[in-house]
Amino acid sequence: MIESLGRRSISAIEDIGRVGYFVRDMLRGLRDVGTWGSLVMIQMRRIGVDSLPVALFIAAFTGVVLALQASYTFTGAVPLYFVGTLVGKTMMLELGPVLTGLALAGRVGASMAAELGTMKVTEQVDALETLAYDPQSYLVVPRVVAATLMFPVIVAFAIAVGIITGWLTSLVLLDLSTPDFVKGLKLFYVFKDVWFGLLKSASFGFTIALVGCVVGLSTRGGAEGVGRSTTQTVVYSAILILVLDAFWAVVLL
């Protein structure tokens, strides 16, 4: 029992050390702009444009549910225009970034882990090295940079769509007028609401891409290993998103 605990602790410390070395190598890879510069746009399109439908779909229904739940909770005790406040604040501060982050942990993180894992087990990563490329510059940096830049953009769209569907729901199902919804939306609005959500989403993008790359490039053992890496990436990313969410709340709110 104690021996097993010790072994697991050592393994966990080794994993942390490995990630530390990985980040160091990634920072070294940043210097080679000539290699990663041209690849960032491709990744931005893959991560950003291709992920937009999923993110907007989730945001749209979240906006609807938020408006209905707010009205149900207020039940006449609180003026109905506070629905606008709740929808706006919740989408900007929490649900926009976190739900999008969790959804994209599955879509983006898993796809990165699967792609890099397959490249690893089929020796494509070794081939890159023998062609005098640094895999960090060629594979990791473009993905991490693109995810860090594109997540705030996706989340910004998601927030906007969530608020719009919340507004439409209020109009159609709650008999709340547009001026009242906007009044509620503006009521406690501060610019910090926006940048807090976007900063948080940038950190989620960075984390998901980093986890996808670390796990993907550590893949061993063929197709089974690729499957394992994909699952691990989704689980680790989801956990880290929730931890980061709490971290930013403690530090910035």
């Binding site: 397959t118 089929t122 070794d126 081939a127 090295e129 023998t130 005098a132 490329y133 640094d134």
Partner: protein
């Protein structure tokens, strides 16, 4: 010249190389034979720094590989072409881009890169396949693209990791002929890792047998064919006992 000096490598409890020493002379093709899992590919990967030895050293053109930093390693790698066992082509790139990838690292003009890609594909009899994706190619064609990618770099050394494994006899013969042609036309030094004896006899100048982590015998093709060593004889004749 490439020289393995008393190389040791283990993966956890499995000791793979245990004092592996071998000199590969400039201009020759050295074939390393041995049982599956005997460490042939492991030895090859040490040459380009994909693996690091537990002890011992690999010397390439007088440079000790394990002492080089990333820049030094990059410089050495630019003189070496590596043909992987399953070709290791990049799935998302076309055949042309696969062959061009290493050249783009060398600050060559686009015209020269295109010319070299055409030339390399012509050498492996795959002219006109530039726009095809690796998934559209047969196993033998993929290996030939792998060879084209290596020779496009005009390297001093080419390392072939099991180049004929998994191919039918005719395609294997085509690959063998390509390896011979590469040596004759480009004058490169080659190391071929294989357990295909027909291929070894065709392409090799000398053959080294790796057994229990070290070189059991290194000789010319003819000497190996007439060896008295029972272990080597059993292997080259493919006898169960």
């Amino acid at each position: 010249m490439i020289e393995f000096q008393d190389l040791y490598k283990a993966f956890d409890a499995k000791r793979v190389l245990q004092g592996f020493s071998l000199k590969v002379r400039d201009g020759e093709t050295m074939v390393i034979i041995g049982y599956s899992g005997s460490g042939k590919s492991v030895a090859l990967k040490h040459i380009v720094g994909l693996l690091h030895p537990d002890a011992g050293e690999v010397i390439v053109d007088g440079q000790a590989i394990s002492t080089l930093d990333r820049d030094g390693l990059t410089e050495v790698r630019q003189n070496i072409g590596y043909v992987f066992q399953f070709a290791a082509l990049f799935d998302s790139l076309t055949v042309g881009d696969n062959v061009a990838l290493g050249l783009r690292r060398r600050a060559l003009e686009d015209d020269e890169i295109s010319e070299r890609v055409r030339e390399a594909l012509a050498v492996v009899d795959l002219s006109g396949t530039e726009e095809r994706l690796p998934a559209e190619l047969s196993g033998g064609m993929r290996k030939r693209v792998g060879i084209a990618r290596a020779i496009a770099l005009r390297p001093r050394y080419i390392l072939y990791d099991e180049p004929t494994t998994g191919l039918d006899p005719v395609t294997s013969a085509v690959i063998d002929r390509l390896m011979v042609r590469t040596r004759e036309h480009l004058g490169v030094t080659g190391i071929v890792v294989t357990h295909d004896m027909r291929s070894a006899y065709t392409v090799g100048d000398r053959i080294a047998m790796l057994y229990e982590g070290k070189v059991r015998q290194v000789s010319t093709v003819e000497e190996i064919q007439h060896t008295d060593d029972p272990i080597v004889r059993q292997f080259i004749e493919g006898r169960a006992e």
